[in-house]
Amino acid sequence: MTEASSAGIQIRGLTKRYGSTLALNGLDLDIQPGEIFGVAGPNGAGKSTLVRMIGGEESPTSGSLTLDGQAWSPTDAWDAVSIVHQEPQLFPNLTVAENMVAGREGAGAGWPKPGDADLQIMDAMGLHAVRDLPLGECSLAMQQRTEIARAVARQARIFLFDEPNSALTQAESDELFREMRKLAESGRIVLLITHRLGDLVRNCARVAVVRDGRVRGVLSGEALTEEGLARQLVTEAAAVAPPALRASFRASEAAPRFKVQGWSSPNAFRGVDFSAGLGEIVALIGVEGSGARELLRSFGGLEPCTGEISVTGATDVDWDRFRCYVPATRALSLYSNFTVGENLLARLGVPEIANWLLALKKGQMAALVERSIRRFLVKTPKASVPIRSLSGGNQQKVAIAQALNRAPELLLLEEPTRGVDIHSKNEIYHLLRDYAATGKVVIVF
């Protein structure tokens, strides 16, 4: 073995079996220190299993992990690995400085204080100003930085970034990537797992594409382009990303179907005039804090607002029947105690799934579930499996199908494709386009 490949992580024949499904199927991977190594793959490809495996949260069914040429199990040496999630797994009730020392308080009986080394690290990472603020009051970017600082302080060797910037602004994520590069330059192993191909291309030296539990290829240098990655990711050659949802701001000749005037919210936006016509998909765009997200939510009736809101001229329609809002995170639209089928029907009521006596119409429910699964391209072995057993992309389809089953005139979606692989993304765009084409209004943020 060459010297270059014996430093860093080597993974050989890593296999993980959950019951009858193979999450990882003989995965081989070499990751060298000093580079940012990217991992891409569709939902359900085994990315998250790989992350959990390197992070020591799962042990492999077979295969080996070596670090610097020595057999290594992260369950023993958990200190060496730091996983930075989209939502930091820290203590929001403690201050930033206290978060730094939590877990390494030492043997003293007093309230723990950060040592000199900790203070230096915090200063280097620009956390000086927020040191004594409760973590929960800091911005997401600061919280992530605290998590990284914690890992640096305990001399972690491996940094796993799992979709770290999906909730960050552009400036914040640039800052984050600068930090990642610094970590890599200091000889640490840095892994970036994300669905954002652009981020992978810009920041990684090499990117491995994982599909069906194996590495399908490692792209580097010239070959590392967004299109190259996309082609590796998508199984069907025909489905190579078409231009994603285009914002259509054209003025509709017909009378606008949905209209707001002088629409104001106390703390997010003022005097918005907006209208959308039949069959239109309208994209609201804006950085975090611009008020675009709140605007979308306000159309769904979830923010207290003043102004005039009307549909085809009428202002007093049955809004709850007329509009549906789909939140950005699946955790806010799916019911984990329900099966896939029950989830698909969760938004329905009388008369769709129950009669006037409120008795459920079991036969119609089953038929409706069958139809929804086919129509909304949900990949599930049975309608009666728990929702959590589906891959992320399919869960997202269920979340959207929940709303589509209501057949709302106005469909409001907040980041409908967040954290979803390209393949599912395309299918979701298809669904939305088809839906708008039936003469409905779709607004996305």
Binding site: Y325, P327, N337, A346
Partner: protein, 270 residues
Amino acid sequence: MGEIDLSFGAMYGLAANVLAVMWVVHGVPVYVAIPLTLVIAALVGSFNGFLATSWKIPSFIVTLGSYNLLYGLSLWVSNSGTFNPNYPPSGTDLPQGQLDFFIGLTASFGKYELSAEVFWMLGIALVVGFLLHRSLFGFRLMAIGGNTEAARLARLPVRRYKISAFIVCSILAGMAGILDFSFIQTSQPDIGLSQTFPVFAAVIIGGASLNGGKGTIIGTIGGALLLAELQLGLALLSPGPHVQQIFLGAVTIVAVGLDLFLAKLRKSLK
């Protein structure tokens, strides 16, 4: 649905005491007093539900409060007294017809001396089972219990459903209080209070989740039967009252622990 009602034991007691005072002391006809008692139960349920949803006080605290409140009311209306319709206080006279009707509610009959209370239980179980498993009400309650925030964003009537659930709970507790009063024929201000934790134990053993979104009627009846059998068996063996309590505690923990263990086992075998 992510809420808890600790006050049902006290509601059970209040129902028996209110009925006793209205009927036995003040001579309100039992046919009027029973519906009035159930109305009071419904009011108590709306009180709990209103505070828990509109004022957003955690229901654990609201109902811990109303538990004591209702017990206080029981003490007050009954003047800490005991009542038996067979022996009304002097000066009142209960018509025999009303007495027969009331005692007949839970009369024992047939070869095995089966109390009619068993049939009340089965009937109520059927109705509640329908509500829970075959109606939109139950479907949405399960949804609300599984993910309240999602239900709110999906514009399901979360508040109304939660209040309704509290009302159903209080009315059922009230009915239980009335039926047991008919069976025992004696009311005391503190009856029902000691039922609080055994009932929780039965429900949990039956597979319901305190976090909400899980639970069945069959399971609950099974849990209740299991505990009742154990209590009866231990009473017959008469090893002393402490053993019953120790068993109740141990069975609760072991049953839930076993359930979690078996679920894990099933998952790993699949």
